[in-house]
C-alpha cells in the first residue's frame, strides 16, 4: 500500500525534516545508544536500551518496539525530583499508550544538536522540567498517536475517524478489528506528522494528575542503579583531583617523586591552571597518592579573604548608593516612612552554603584526536557538551555527552560543569583511555558554586491603625548571575534574580500589596563562586520577607495570619494556600503544651505555596519541629504523590540549611570540609509533614523548589512565638535559643 504523504509544505516541518534527514521518515534513525562508541561494563539500562531494540521511532519523543514497549525520550534530567516520570506521564497521556509498557531513554545533547534541537531544552533547573516543556512533549505524544492510528487505518484501508485507541490498542469500531502500537509503529514511522494537533482538555486527562509510581525505583533498591561515580568502562583509569583551595589561586608546582612509585599510580598531571590530578588503576590508589603529593600553590589575590571581610563589604552595601539596582518600586516608600505613625527596622543575614549532593562531582571522559565523549550526571546535557567541546579542542560535532541519573543535583550540576572540563583536560593527556574523575567529599566542599551570601535591611511603616503603609527593602550581597552568567544581567547591570519573591509580577511576584514599596539591591560580589542552589534566592528572600512581616504584625499587635490577610486581598491564590495551611494546622486553636506555630507564604517558580510550622524550644534551648502543614498550588498537578515527596524533601533541604548550613571563609578558602562540620538533618529531626496539593488549573507552576522557601520562615516565626527571640543570622546552630 502506498502511503499518503501529507503537509509537505508546512514550513516548520520542512526545517525539521531537513535537519533530521532521510532517517526520520524512513524510520531508520539509529537507536540512541548505538552511538556510544566505547564498550561499557555497566552502562545504565536507560543508556543501552536502544541498542537491543528493534524499535521504530514514530517521532523524536516516541519509539515503539515490536513487543509494544513504548520508549519515551526524556530531554531533562532525573535527579530525584521525579521529572522523568512526570514527563513520561505527559507524553503517555496524549499517546494513549499502555502505561505498564512505558520505559524511558535520554537522548544525547550531541544528537539534539545534530537534529536541530528537536528535543529543545535539556536544562533541568529553576523547577522547569515539567512547566517548561509540558506543551511540546504532550504534542509529541499526540502527534505520535495520530500517526499510529493513521498507520492502522491505512493498513485496513478505512477512514481514521472510524478508529479509536486505548492503552496501545487501536480498534476499528465498525468491524471490531484491533491491532497494537507495536504492530503498526514501523508503518507509522514512515508517515508525515499531522499539520495540526489538538491537545486534550485537562478535564479529560486520565494519567496526568494520577499518583502513579516512579519509573526509576526498582534499580535504586538493589544497587543496580549506576550513577556516574559507579561507571566502569573497559580499560578505564581513575583520577583524584585537588584544586587550589584558595579561590582564584593557581597551581605553582608539585613534586611527584614519592607518589609515582605508589601502588597503581599511572600519571600525575597538571589540570588547567589551578589543579593537579593523580591518575591510577583504582580511585582509592589515586586518592591515596594525591593525599601524599607535595603541592605548592600560588594563593593569588584572595589569600587573606575572610568571612569578616565579606561581612564588612555587605554592611557597606546596606546603606550605600553605589551600584544599587531597583527591583520593585511603588508609590514613595521613603516619604511614606517619614510620615509613618511607627516604623520597624531589622537586618537579616544569610550565609554561603554548599549543595552537598550525596554523589560528589564526577565525570568520565574519553578523548582521541577526532572524538571526545563524556559520561556524567548533569542537570544540563547541553552545557556539559559545551564544556566538553571547549576543553577537548575539537569541534562540538565531534563530541557527545551521555547523561546518567544524578545522585543529587540541587543546582550544582546545571549551569557550571567544571568537573567535565577537568575530566576532559585529564583525558586529553591520556588519549584513547577513558578516565573517570571523581571528587572527594573534601574537594566537593572546597570547590562549590555556593548559595550566595546576602544581608537585608528592612524598614516597615505602620499607620496609626497598624496597617502596613510602606516597606523599604535593601538587599546587599552577591549576584549569582555576575558570578556565572554575566550575559544574563540586565542592560544596566542588575541581577533581577536577586529580587526573587519581590518582583511586581510574574513567577516570583511579591504576595502582598503595600501602598509604598521600594526594593533595592546593592550588588557586592566577594570572590567566592556563587551558583544556583535549590530555591536560589527565594531561600533567603522568603526568610527576610516572611519573618519581617511577622515582626510587623507583632509590632502592630495583630495576629500574623490576619495581618497577612489584610495585605493579600489582591492575591487570591496566595491567600488560598495560606488559608489552607492555617485551617489544617488549626491556627487560632490552642496547640499542645509548649508547642507554638509560625506561618509563611510566597509565590515562586510560578507556584503558590504556604506553610504552618509547629515547634517547641525546651529549657536547654533545643528546637523541635513537630509538624509542618504545607500547601502548594502549582496550577496543574501531574503526579500528586511525587509532589508530596518533593515538598517533604524540600523541607529537609531547607531546614538543613536553616539549622546547619554555613560555609565560612578563612584565608581565602572554605573552612568546612565534610559532613562532620557541614551537617545535614537526620531522620530524628524530621517533622511530620502534611501536604495539601491544591491545583487550581490554568497554569503550570514548579514543584521541586517552591516549598523550600516557606520551611525556614515558618519555623523561625514559630521560634519567635515560642521564645520571643527573633533570629536574624543563620544557621540556627550559632544561636542560643535558651530563654
Amino acid at each position: 500500500m502506498k502511503h499518503q504523504r501529507i503537509n509537505v509544505s508546512r514550513r516548520d516541518f520542512l526545517i525539521q525534516s531537513t535537519a533530521i534527514g532521510a532517517g526520520f521518515s524512513l524510520g531508520l534513525f539509529l537507536p540512541l545508544s548505538s552511538r556510544t562508541a566505547f564498550a561499557a561494563d555497566n552502562v545504565p539500562s536507560y543508556l543501552s536500551l536502544g541498542a537491543s531494540s528493534s524499535g521504530a521511532e514514530v517521532n523524536a519523543w516516541v519509539e515503539i518496539l515490536a513487543d509494544d514497549t513504548v520508549v519515551i525520550r526524556i530531554a531533562r534530567s532525573e535527579m530525584g525530583q521525579g521529572t522523568l516520570t512526570g514527563l513520561a506521564q505527559l507524553v503517555a497521556e496524549e499517546l494513549e499508550c499502555d502505561w505498564s509498557k512505558v520505559t524511558t531513554e535520554y537522548p544525547t545533547p550531541g544528537e539534539n544538536l545534530a537534529r536541530d534541537k528537536v528535543w529543545r531544552s535539556f536544562s533541568t533547573g529553576g523547577s522547569q522540567g515539567i512547566r517548561g516543556s509540558h506543551d511540546y512533549v504532550r504534542k509529541g505524544g499526540a502527534v505520535a498517536r495520530h500517526m499510529l492510528i493513521q498507520a492502522a487505518a491505512e493498513q485496513w484501508a478505512v477512514p481514521m475517524a472510524e478508529c479509536t485507541v486505548a492503552s496501545s490498542v487501536i480498534t476499528h469500531k465498525p468491524s471490531g478489528r484491533t491491532t497494537t502500537y507495536g504492530k503498526v509503529a514501523a508503518l507509522a514511522a514512515e508517515l508525515f506528522p499531522p499539520e495540526h494537533i489538538e491537545l486534550k482538555d485537562p478535564k479529560d486527562w486520565k494519567l496526568i494528575g494520577q499518583p502513579v509510581k516512579r519509573l526509576d525505583t526498582v534499580d535504586k533498591l538493589n544497587g543496580k542503579q549506576v550513577f556516574g561515580a559507579d561507571l566502569q568502562l573497559e580499560g578505564m583509569l581513575n583520577a583524584a583531583i585537588k584544586a587550589c583551595p584558595v579561590f582564584g589561586g593557581k597551581l605553582k608546582s608539585f613534586d611527584d617523586s614519592k607518589v609515582r612509585k605508589m601502588p597503581g599510580v599511572k600519571k600525575v598531571l597538571k589540570v588547567g591552571d589551578n589543579a593537579v590530578a593523580v591518575v591510577a588503576d583504582t580511585w582509592w590508589h589515586a586518592k591515596s597518592a594525591l593525599d601524599e603529593l607535595s603541592i605548592s600553590w600560588d594563593k593569588g589575590p584572595n589569600a587573606e579573604l575572610s568571612s569578616a571581610a565579606i561581612d564588612k563589604m555587605l554592611d557597606e552595601g546596606l546603606s550605600s548608593s553605589d551600584k544599587v539596582f531597583e527591583g520593585n518600586r511603588k508609590g514613595d516608600a521613603k516619604r511614606a516612612l517619614k510620615a509613618a505613625a511607627r516604623t520597624v527596622e531589622a537586618t537579616y543575614a544569610y550565609p554561603y552554603q554548599n549543595h552537598a549532593t550525596m554523589e560528589p562531582m564526577n565525570a568520565t571522559a574519553l578523548w582521541t584526536k577526532d572524538r571526545c565523549e563524556v559520561w556524567c550526571p548533569t542537570q544540563n546535557g547541553e552545557v556539559a557538551l559545551d564544556a566538553a567541546a571547549e576543553a577537548s579542542g575539537l569541534n562540538i560535532k565531534q563530541c557527545d555527552v551521555y547523561k546518567i541519573h544524578l545522585g543529587g543535583g540541587f543546582g550544582r550540576r546545571g549551569a557550571v560543569h567544571d568537573f567535565v572540563t577537568q575530566a576532559v583536560q585529564i583525558a586529553k593527556q591520556i588519549p584513547g583511555t577513558p578516565v573517570k574523575l571523581l571528587w572527594s567529599r573534601e574537594e566537593d566542599m572546597a570547590h562549590g558554586f555556593y548559595h550566595p551570601v546576602t544581608k537585608c535591611k528592612l524598614i516597615g511603616g505602620l499607620d496609626d491603625k497598624g496597617n502596613l503603609d510602606a516597606l523599604q527593602v535593601r538587599i546587599s550581597g552577591q549576584s549569582i548571575l555576575a558570578s556565572i552568567r554575566p550575559q544574563w544581567l540586565a542592560e544596566n547591570g542588575a541581577d533581577m534574580i536577586t529580587f526573587q519573591g519581590f518582583h511586581a509580577e510574574g513567577d516570583h511576584a511579591i504576595s502582598y500589596t503595600v501602598p509604598n514599596l521600594l526594593v533595592e539591591h546593592a550588588m557586592r560580589n566577594p570572590p567566592v563562586p556563587a551558583g544556583f542552589w535549590r530555591g536560589v534566592n527565594i531561600n533567603q528572600n522568603a526568610i527576610y520577607t516572611e519573618c519581617f512581616i511577622d515582626e510587623l504584625a507583632h509590632a502592630a499587635k495583630k495576629d500574623p495570619l490576619e495581618f497577612r490577610r489584610q495585605l493579600m486581598k489582591d492575591h487570591p491564590q496566595s491567600l488560598a494556600v495560606l488559608n489552607a495551611v492555617a485551617d489544617k494546622a488549626g491556627w487560632g486553636t490552642t496547640p499542645a503544651k509548649g508547642v507554638h506555630r509560625g506561618l509563611a507564604v510566597t509565590k515562586t517558580f510560578g507556584s503558590y505555596v504556604a506553610a504552618c510550622a509547629e515547634v517547641s524550644v525546651d529549657d536547654a534551648g533545643k528546637l523541635r519541629v513537630h509538624r509542618i502543614v504545607a500547601a502548594t498550588d502549582p496550577g496543574y498537578a501531574v503526579n500528586p504523590q511525587q509532589i508530596e515527596a518533593q515538598v517533604e524533601g524540600s523541607f529537609v533541604y531547607g531546614l538543613s540549611a536553616l539549622l546547619y548550613g554555613e560555609c565560612s571563609i578563612k584565608d581565602g578558602a572554605v573552612e568546612q570540609s565534610n559532613f562532620h562540620d557541614y551537617p545535614s538533618m537526620l531522620i530524628n529531626e524530621m517533622p511530620e509533614v502534611e501536604v495539601i496539593v491544591m491545583p487550581s488549573g490554568g497554569f503550570w507552576g514548579g514543584i521541586g523548589e517552591p516549598t523550600i522557601a516557606v520551611a525556614a520562615p515558618a519555623v523561625l516565626n514559630g521560634i519567635f512565638a515560642a521564645t520571643g527571640k527573633r533570629v536574624r543570622e543563620f544557621p540556627l546552630q550559632n544561636t542560643d535559643l535558651r530563654a
Binding site: D41, N42, M79, G80, Q81, G82, K213, R214, D216, T217, V218, D219, K220, L221, N222, G223, K224, Q225, V226, F227, A229, D230, P263, T282, W283, W284, A356, T357, M358, E359, P360, H405, L406, G407, G408, G409, F410, L438, S440, R441, Q641, Q642, A645, E648, G649, F651, V652, Y653, S656, N674, F675, H676, S680, M681, L682, I683, N684, M686, E688, V689
Partner: protein, 163 residues
C-alpha cells in the same frame, strides 16, 4: 591475598590490606551498589552488614576482616529484590535520587534483624544516614511497612504458609 566472604561467596583478593572495604567492594569486586559519599563514616551511604550488624565500610580496612565473617552488601540482600524493605520501598516510592538508598536500606535491614518491630524512637536512634533529597518520612513509613510484611510472612509460615 585478602580473603573475604561476601554475600555468601568466598573471594581471594590481591589488594593492599589497608584498603577500606568500601573500595574493595567497588573497585576490586565491581559491587558498586555500596556508595562513596563522605569517606569519614558520617553519612552512611557505604553501609553494609558484617555478621548482621550495620557498619560503615569506608572506615574498615580489609586487613581487619576475617574470612569467617559474613559480609552482606545491597547486592546480596535478596535474591530477587523482594526483601520486605525492598517491597515496602517500592510500594511507597521511597527513593528520590537513590544514591543514599542502598546504605539506608542496609541500615534499616540491620535494625529489623535485631528489632523486628521498631518504634519511631528506635528508628530515630538507629537510622543515622544522611539523605539530602529528604526521603526520611517515607523511609520511616517503609521500615514500619517492611516490619508488617515480614511479620505477615512469618506468621503465615508458622501456619503452614499461604494457600
Amino acid at each position: 591475598m585478602i580473603k573475604l566472604k561476601i554475600n555468601g561467596e568466598l573471594f581471594e583478593i590481591d589488594v593492599e590490606g589497608s584498603t577500606p572495604l568500601l573500595w574493595v567492594l567497588r573497585e576490586q569486586l565491581g559491587m558498586t551498589g555500596t556508595k562513596y559519599s563522605c569517606g569519614i563514616g558520617v553519612c552512611g551511604s557505604c553501609t553494609v552488614h558484617i555478621d548482621g550488624e550495620a557498619v560503615r565500610s569506608c572506615l574498615i580496612s580489609v586487613s581487619s576482616l576475617k574470612a569467617s565473617q559474613d559480609i552482606l552488601t545491597i547486592e546480596g540482600l535478596s535474591a530477587s529484590n523482594d526483601h520486605p524493605l525492598q517491597q515496602a520501598w517500592k510500594e511507597l516510592d521511597v527513593p528520590q535520587c537513590g544514591y543514599c538508598q542502598p546504605g539506608m536500606i542496609m541500615s534499616a535491614a540491620a535494625l529489623l534483624n535485631s528489632n523486628p518491630d521498631p518504634s519511631d524512637a528506635d528508628i530515630d536512634e538507629n537510622i543515622t544516614n544522611i539523605c539530602r533529597c529528604g526521603t526520611f518520612n517515607r523511609v520511616r513509613k517503609g521500615i514500619h511497612r517492611a516490619a508488617d510484611i515480614a511479620s505477615t510472612k512469618n506468621s503465615s509460615a508458622k501456619h503452614g504458609g499461604e494457600k
